[in-house]
């Protein structure tokens, strides 16, 4: 994912391992990231936070090297001039107002008081907190706190932004607003790394993903390409309707469907080898059946399924 220019990539991880005593946090990880929004996916404990802490120089790799813009962040803090970091930690200076908080931290980049205030107002506006910027952080909701953290990471107009679980614990409204902020940063040409353990969240933000599992790099590339691989795998579609059996009759004749089940009263489970093909025929069949459909779910379309598929393929 390098941009091919002379300048070193924003992030270069070279055969990095990190273990805490007996516990392995990151296992022989290599990758280079530069430009665009990259989702770092993995279940809890996959090594996402460890990876970010390595990048932020908070911990030192047990093996291998980490470089931000070609510089080792453990020994030199100069890359942080161009990095914005949103930690997973919820802790803020509760007694400060949002503007105060962002301004204070902006000054740590060497801005004057006035520059810092101006930039802070700008980024707080960008994350949609203009109305509450004079309120104390202690009175902020979870979503607002996440946005303040993002604002502080953006205040110095960084080239690389690292967001550790920025959507964690946010309500749907906050989630949507944060996602749009992240997308916008990507559109501005910045390198954005955003971690999550929820596939659907990342899917709404970016196509470019890195999947970590047990400290290892499981996959790297385009989410849809990876999903495409998954789609060729047996998949389930769960439909809740009035008469599952009559609907089943309409499906069995279709090409991608190789089997049906009735797991519960009022539920139809369709088994397919090609999820996208199945979804493309689904609307016409539903119309044809004239039934009232209460929901359509893809129980296999989540990170866990993707992981178990990738692990099996990899194995």
């Amino acid at each position: 994912m390098t941009n091919g220019t002379q300048e070193p990539p924003a992030v270069l991880i070279d055969q990095v391992s990190k273990w805490y005593g007996q516990v392995i946090g990151i296992n022989d990880l290599s990758m280079a990231i530069d430009g665009g929004v990259t989702g770092v996916l993995g279940p809890n404990g996959a090594g996402k936070s460890t990876l970010f802490k390595l990048m932020m120089g908070r911990i030192r790799p047990s093996q291998g090297s980490v470089r931000l813009f070609g510089v080792d962040p453990w020994t030199n803090t100069s890359p942080y001039r161009r990095v914005g970091y949103v930690s997973e930690s919820e802790k803020l200076y509760e007694w400060m107002t949002a503007l105060d908080f962002v301004t204070t931290l902006a000054r740590l980049h060497g801005m004057t008081r006035d520059e810092a205030k101006e930039r802070s107002e700008h980024v707080l506006d960008f994350v949609g907190l203009t109305d509450v910027m004079h309120k104390e952080l202690g009175k902020f909701s979870k979503g607002m706190r996440q946005r303040v953290k993002i604002a502080h990471a953006l205040v110095h107009d960084p080239d690389l932004i690292i967001l550790d679980e920025p959507l964690h614990g946010c309500d749907p409204l906050a989630r949507t607003s944060i996602m749009s902020v992240i997308r916008e940063m990507g559109e501005q040409g910045k390198t954005v790394l955003v971690s999550s353990h929820i596939l659907e969240e990342i899917e709404r933000i970016t196509e470019q993903i890195v999947i970590l599992h047990n400290g290892r790099l499981l996959a790297i590339g385009n989410l849809h390409a990876i999903r495409g691989l998954l789609d060729k795998h047996p998949h389930r579609i769960l439909i809740k309707c009035e008469d599952p059996r009559s609907l089943a009759n309409l499906f069995v004749s279709q090409e991608p469907v190789f089997g049906v089940r009735f797991p519960r009263e009022g539920q139809l489970e369709i088994q397919t080898n090609d999820l996208s093909a199945a979804h493309s025929v689904l609307p016409s069949i539903v119309v044809k059946s004239k039934q009232k459909i209460s929901s359509i779910e893809n129980p296999d379309d989540n990170l866990e399924s993707l992981l178990s598929y990738l692990i099996k393929e990899g194995g």
Binding site: E7, K53, M56, G57, R58, I59, R60, F69, V71, N76, T77, S78, P79, Y80, R81, R82, V83, Y85, S87, S89, E90, K91, L92, Y93, W95, M96, T104, L105, R107, L108, H109, G110, M111, T112, H152, A153, D157, D159
Partner: protein, 576 residues
């Protein structure tokens, strides 16, 4: 260079002032939001308020005139104060003996082995004799212990005494003391003979027994001496210094007027080695015993020997009762005031505030950020960890240092307004208070960096390490006050800060050595020589300036060392 023209190399160590300003300001605001900050600073202010009350209550009292040598009293109730009685050589325990009272003048005697043992006279007698009396004075009396004989005269003027005419000589000599007995008129001349032992007055023939003595004489006429008011004996013998005109000569050669002429302000630059002091109230001269009146053994009676070296008076020794009742406002007030300033500077500022403020404010400067989980906010910025420690400490120092400097100036201003002297504010105090503020600030820096390092080395047990350090420092500080020469104490931080105060005191008040000596020599007991001694670490130059620079340097090196240790620990620490 990136596309925005920013170079990585110029980002970390450039614009340090702005980054420093931001962290210092953040640290100060954080400290301001903590209750413990206000508690410890409030307790400090309260302590100073109490000390000022103590100053007003106790130290200021020493400006009132006090009879230091206690000679304004009249113990025997004869109407003359002790000072006046000393001057006239009369005791202050005998009401019959007072200035101008008649005095017994002895004329002659018959010793225990004189050959001629009989005399016929009209005298005042003292001793033992067979007295054939033509007249006795029954009004000749004195105190009960004085052995005056009571003649017990009857209405005809005949003594009525024990009859001892039948007694043998041994019985008479053994039995009669402080009285007389009647031996009758043995020779029939109409005059009875009495055996008398004690003091009496009369006319007759006295025969002294073998191995006994008798002396006789007369009493002078009593003259009236005006009793002096007791106030005259308060502050009547001040500390005198002279311009060297008369130094070294025999004391008696000069008149008081000469001394007055050559008197200079004391202590003074001109008042150096030599014989100073003048027994203004004459009580030393009245001693005339050859011991106390030349206690300093310089061969001059009733003076004060001053010894100076390199222009500084280093030793003062006074003869007994010379310059022993100086003016309080001028001397004791000054001594007590200086003692107060130095004691408060050392004990309250350096030792108490110097230890407790850092214990509460600096221990968690970096550690608490880790514990609160807010450290990542600061460390994700282009700031070196060593920089971070220095800025945090600077923020802590900005609060604690400005606090102690303000407090020292307030206490200094109030005490210098209340202090002795004619001027409204004692301006010469101000450099000392600034020195106390500066010494305390350096101590705050040294302890701050030490305690901060302890908090980083052992986040869990650091506080206990700090308490152990604190006890050590408190003990070494206390020892350093009493004996700054003790080498072990110099491995403490407090020792160097106390040395700094000693040096500043000597620079601001160059005559303090002399004052301390005066305190000892004239037994004023202000405690100046306990709380202050000349600075030790002068590298053999005896220069207070060098001692001051030396102490500042040591404190700065200690501070820098602990910052370096904290930095080394912190740079290697992984922040999970």
């Amino acid at each position: 260079m990136d596309e925005k023209g920013r170079s990585l190399s110029e980002t970390v160590w450039t614009r340090m002032d702005r980054k420093a300003g931001a962290i210092i300001e953040l640290t100060m605001r954080q400290l301001r939001h903590r209750v413990s900050t206000w508690v410890v600073l409030g307790v400090g202010a309260l302590l100073m308020a109490l000390l000022l009350i103590f100053y007003i209550d106790s130290v200021r009292e020493s400006f009132e005139p006090i009879d230091n040598d206690g000679d304004s009293v009249d113990n025997d109730g004869d109407g003359y104060p002790m000072g006046q009685e000393r001057k006239y050589g009369t005791p202050d325990w005998d009401s019959a003996s007072y200035p101008g009272a008649s005095v017994f003048i002895s004329e002659s005697d018959i010793d225990w082995n004189d050959a001629d043992r009989t005399v016929a006279l009209n005298k005042s007698w003292e001793g033992s004799a067979f007295f054939e009396a033509s007249w006795v004075d029954d009004k000749y009396s004195g105190e009960w212990w004085d052995s005056h004989v009571d003649w017990n005269l009857n209405q005809e003027g005949i003594p009525e005494l024990t009859d001892c005419s039948d007694w043998d000589l041994d019985r008479i000599l053994e039995s009669i003391w402080s009285e007389a007995c009647d031996m009758g008129d043995g020779d029939g001349d109409g005059m009875n003979t009495y055996y008398v032992a004690g003091k009496w007055r009369g006319a007759g023939i006295a025969t002294v027994p073998e191995n006994y003595y008798l002396l006789w004489g007369y009493w002078t006429e009593e003259v009236y001496v005006e009793p002096e008011p007791p106030e005259m004996y308060i502050n009547e013998d001040g500390i005198d210094c002279f311009n060297g005109l008369f130094l070294g000569g025999p004391y008696e050669r000069y008149e008081a007027a000469d001394w007055e002429e050559s008197r200079v302000e004391c202590p003074s630059e001109t008042a150096l080695s030599g014989s100073h002091g003048y027994d203004n109230d004459g009580d030393c001269l009245a001693l005339n015993d050859g011991r106390g009146d030349d206690e300093n053994e310089n061969g001059i009676r009733c003076d004060v020997q001053w010894i100076a070296s390199n222009g500084v008076v280093t030793w003062i020794e006074a003869d007994e009762l010379v310059d022993e009742d100086p003016d309080e406002q001028e001397y004791i007030g000054e001594l007590d005031h200086r003692t107060f300033v130095i004691a408060v500077g050392k004990m309250a500022f350096v030792i108490l505030l110097g230890l407790f403020i850092p214990l509460f404010l600096s221990l968690g400067l970096v550690r608490d950020e880790t514990e609160n989980g807010t450290l990542h906010l600061l460390l994700s910025k282009p700031i070196h960890r060593a920089e971070f420690i220095i800025y945090r400490l600077s923020g802590y120092l900005a609060i604690s240092g400005s606090y102690v400097i303000t407090l020292s100036l307030i206490v200094g201003l109030i005490s210098s307004i209340l202090g002795p002297g004619d001027q409204f504010v004692r301006l010469s105090d101000m450099p000392v208070w600034i020195g106390i503020g500066a010494a305390t600030t350096l101590v705050l820096a040294a302890y701050g960096s030490l305690f901060n390092a302890m908090g980083l080395i052992s986040p869990k047990y650091g506080v206990y390490l700090c308490i152990v350090f604190g006890i050590w420092e408190f003990m070494m500080g206390s020892f350093s006050i009493v004996n700054p020469n003790w080498t072990v104490a110099s491995i403490s931080i407090s020792h160097w800060a106390l040395q700094m105060i000693d040096a500043v005191v000597l620079l601001a008040w160059p005559d303090t050595i002399q004052w301390a000596e005066m305190d000892k020599a004239f037994e004023i007991g202000s405690g100046l020589s306990v709380f202050w001694q000349p600075p030790v670490h002068t590298l053999g130059t005896a220069s207070a300036g060098i001692a001051l620079l030396n102490s500042i340097l040591v404190l700065l090196i200690v501070t820098a060392s602990w910052v370096f240790i904290a930095k080394s620990v912190f740079s290697r620490r992984e922040i999970l």
